[in-house]
């Protein structure tokens, strides 16, 4: 009798133990005010004018389609804080359930977030942090460091670790995020070179984020280092890197330079694949994959599941050797299907 009673107690406990989490989940879902069967998510893109952000948008749309219960409302922040604020108001008026914000102006972050907080709308901010929003984006310092380390390894192998000048094509007007990227590249290079580059041979040049400006400033600086035979350049993105290479080629000094960048967008990939390329490679940000992180994270937020305060992209240094592994489909001639 006692055994029977004990068995019943054990079975009931086991069943209760199995049902308890389900009950808790049901309870969670019941108390999760934002949980629904389907969702409308607003995505305000940084700009629609550049390849990187177009890839981010496409990735988000494709992840939403895959999720099956998400409709995405699009807006273009046009690299402007005031436009981002107007878009935020539009999202609220349209009754979106959650928002993915990709906007450049930190000063507007507070205002935008106060509107969304008032409405109880969860927000994920891409690349530029906004107070109270879950951060998603590049691990800028480490992304930079990957490129710096790769460049140092190449220099150690091909130039016996000897570098005469380091050109740093930065973007000072855009604040701490690109600065972290540049710092990572410089430290990744300097920490791994056999002989670090002397301070007075490090040239900080404002790329203004354009290929032309990068071409011009490098053209201006090359005549001041006529004896430099081993020049390396770290750059803010692929376009800037291509400007550096073009300047070195125009000055007849292409064989004296090696360049790394950030982004690994299609124009950068093409340059890496070129014969005798002076573009060693670039840290990949995989903008096309952003959506596969962002949509599940937003669903977690909306369904009250725990989400870390910051989610980082997994970066990889892309070069001629591993390009086919990541972007093989884009370059069928260079990456034959095995």
């Amino acid at each position: 009798m006692f055994r029977k009673l004990l068995s019943i107690i054990v079975v009931v406990s086991l069943v209760a133990g199995m049902l308890l989490p389900l009950t808790a989940f049901a309870q969670d879902n019941a108390t999760c005010a934002t949980a629904q069967d389907s969702y409308t998510i607003g995505f305000a893109n940084l700009t629609e004018d550049i390849v990187f952000t177009q890839l981010v948008r496409d990735g988000i749309l494709s992840a939403a389609e895959e999720a099956g219960n998400v409709e995405v409302v699009l807006a273009d922040n046009r690299l402007d804080g005031a436009t981002a604020l107007a878009n935020a108001d539009n999202f609220i008026a349209q009754g979106v359930d959650g928002v993915i914000e990709f906007q450049t102006d930190e000063a507007f972050g507070n205002v935008i977030m106060s509107r969304f907080r008032r409405e109880g709308i969860p927000v994920i901010a891409i690349d530029i942090p906004m107070p109270g929003a879950t951060f998603f984006g590049a691990d800028n310092y480490n992304a930079g460091r990957l490129a710096g380390e790769a460049l140092a390894a190449w220099v150690n192998e091909n130039w016996d670790g000897d570098v005469d000048a380091l050109l740093v094509l930065e973007l000072p007007q855009s604040g701490p995020i690109p600065a972290a990227r540049m710092q990572g590249q410089i430290e990744g290079l300097q920490d791994n070179l056999t002989v670090p580059v002397a301070e007075d041979m490090i040239f900080l040049l404002d790329s203004k984020n354009t290929q032309e400006e990068s071409f011009q400033v490098v053209s201006d600086i090359l005549p001041t280092i006529p004896d430099a035979e081993h020049i390396v350049a770290v750059t803010i993105n692929d376009g800037t890197a291509l400007g550096v290479i073009a300047a070195a080629e125009a000055a007849g000094r292409a064989d004296q330079i090696m360049v790394v960048g950030q982004g690994a967008d299609p124009s950068g990939q093409e340059a890496m694949l070129a014969e005798n390329s002076r573009y060693l490679g670039a840290t990949g940000y995989f903008a096309e994959n952003y959506g596969s992180y962002l949509i599940p994270a937003m669903l977690d937020l909306l369904e009250c599941r725990p989400v870390p305060p910051a989610i980082y992209v997994d970066h990889v240094f892309i070069n001629k050797d591993n390009l086919c592994e990541y972007y093989g489909e884009s370059w069928p001639d260079a990456c034959p299907v095995s």
Binding site: E48, I50, E212, Q216, P223, T224, L242, A246, A250, P266
Partner: protein, 337 residues
């Protein structure tokens, strides 16, 4: 008799002084002096500034602004303005690269079609300004936006590589050691100089800029002249876009962003009036050199890029301000006489 001559002479002296002060030659001389001064300052700060290498580099990198500024000078002299030059420059590279890379059109023909697209944009600008009589600022602001948008639509926002050595010659090659783009710019300046100073067309442009209505009454075909001048500006902007694409071995819809401001700064620095009817191509050429040498010297002397913008703006303001003071002084001397 002697007293009369002396009195005449003393009366004409202030007028001569006023004429001298007001003269365009003095503006150009001032600019030359400013240019030499800037060169001397940088030469004292950098051992590499006055080297052949650097001279060639400056020559290689000022062609774009120089070529566009020829058209802009003519447009400003005619009393208008063209804000679409940067967008048009981007369009020529984009059209050329798409035709060559995606439609397999031979590169030479693709370049001609690219330039043709820019001529068309210039013609449309001219049509709206001259025939529809829409303010040139509004017209070219609209085309600035439309053309840039078109460049993005056509290219899907992508940068295209133009890795053809023959195509790269214009931006990177040289002829007997002189950069090809510099030679092209000088040839275009020389041709434009002849047109502006030795042809009826050039003289008419000055007259139209001074007063379009008076020119019309005097029998000048104002509309035709304006159509030609905007079309020419479109062509020169397109040519500059080809030079950019050739230098960078790529075309991008974001190319030449802000080019219109640099070009207007160079032209105004060169003494061309924003209200039309006044200006010289030699002044513009010196203005182009001053702005480029300033950028070059500031980079070489490692001045922070933030200060570079401050210095460039200040030089423009000082040069134009000084010129205004000189002209007011001339007017005052003339009034007193």
């Amino acid at each position: 008799m002697n007293t009369t001559v002396a009195a005449e002479r003393s009366r004409s002296q202030p007028l001569r002084l006023a004429a001298l002060l007001k003269g365009e030659r003095l503006t150009t001389l001032n600019l030359f002096a400013t240019f030499i001064l800037i060169c001397l300052i940088f030469a004292s700060q950098s051992d590499f500034f006055l080297t052949l290498d650097n001279f060639l580099n400056v020559g290689r990198t000022l062609g774009v602004v120089g070529i566009v500024s020829i058209g802009m000078t003519m447009v400003l002299i005619s009393g208008g303005v063209d804000l679409s030059v940067g967008s048009v420059a981007a369009l020529s590279g984009v059209v050329t690269s798409i035709l060559w890379l995606q439609a397999d059109v031979p590169l030479g023909l693709a370049t001609v079609i690219g330039l043709g697209a820019c001529v068309l944009v210039g013609f449309i600008n001219g049509f709206f300004v001259a025939v529809m009589r829409i303010n040139p600022l509004i017209t070219t602001l609209a085309s600035f936006s439309i053309v840039r948008g078109l460049a993005f639509v056509l290219s899907s926002g992508q940068t295209n590589q133009l890795s053809n050595p023959a195509f790269q010659f214009l931006g990177r090659g040289d002829v007997v050691g002189i950069p090809a783009s510099l030679l092209l710019m000088i040839a275009l300046f020389a041709a434009a100089f002849v047109v502006m100073h030795f042809t009826q067309f050039g003289r008419n442009l000055y007259a139209i800029g001074g007063s379009a209505e008076a020119s019309r009454l005097a029998g000048i075909a104002v509309r035709r002249h304006l159509l030609i001048v905007y079309t020419l500006s479109g062509l020169l902007s397109g040519l500059a876009g080809i030079v950019i694409a050739s230098q960078l071995a790529s075309s991008a819809p974001r190319a030449a962003v802000g080019l219109e401001f640099t070009v207007i700064a160079a032209v105004v620095l060169g003494g061309t009036s924003l209200s039309g009817g006044k200006g010289t191509l030699i002044g513009t050429l010196v203005g182009v050199f001053i702005l480029r040498v300033l950028d070059n010297g500031l980079v070489q002397t490692r001045v922070s890029s933030f200060y570079q913008d401050v210095v460039s703006g200040s030089v423009l303001l000082l040069a134009v301000g000084f010129d205004q003071i000189r002209q007011k002084l001339a007017a005052a001397v003339k009034d007193r006489s």
